[in-house]
């Protein structure tokens, strides 16, 4: 199960598991994002490489206008995935508690 929506403060809230079966839903939402946003992963348990593709495509599009995504509250598993992917160098990523 995966859910994505705008929170009251404008953050993008992701909940559940972002696997290959959920990427169409995630990409459809992200395609509507047109400015810099914070993405809150507090309740995102899991991401696969297909989910990374959604984030990368969005980041590249936003970068064309000088904007980008900041990802906060990533758990240890997702942090490892970002680190092994080199995503920690192309996204602003903040661990829990910062």
């Amino acid at each position: 199960m995966f859910h994505i929506h705008f929170g009251d403060d404008g953050k993008i809230i992701c909940t559940g598991r972002l696997d290959a079966a959920q990427c169409e839903k995630a990409q459809s939402f992200m395609d509507s994002v047109e400015e810099a946003r914070i993405v809150d992963f507090s309740n995102l348990e899991y991401i696969s490489s297909a989910g990374l593709g959604v984030l990368l495509k969005t980041q590249k599009r936003l970068a064309e206008t000088g904007a980008g995504l900041k990802i906060i509250n990533v758990n240890n598993h997702i942090h490892d995935v970002f680190r092994y992917s080199g995503f920690n160098a192309i996204f602003d990523i903040e661990p829990p508690g910062n």
């Binding site: 696969s48 593709g53 590249k60």
Partner: protein
Amino acid sequence: MQKNFNRSYASLEEIFEFTDRFFATEDIEESIRLPVHFVMEELFTNMVKYNPENSNDILLNVDSANGTVTVTLTDYDVDAFDVTAARNVNINAPLERREPGGLGLHLIQKMVDTLEYDYADRKSTVTFTKRPG
């Protein structure tokens, strides 16, 4: 513990549930649950993506010994595709030179303790292990 799964991304939820039941039954350390899910998804979706016309199910076998989990995926009537071959992925490339895709096999090689590929009689078998800690 083994089960056949339909060759579809829609099978992922069922695969994760199947694996979680095994983890609970065998009292496997929680820290390796998500990495095992990750590697299973990457291998399974790879099999789906590159053989979409194949109607055969994909067989998943999960086993454990001394806390180490061994997972085997078997795909029937397919061309060879060695998932253990080195991947030319530049994870240090700047954003403008990055493109979606191509990271999956690189990532699984980072996450597993062992990864083996066997191909015979048009049958692909991929086995990986993940140790706790």
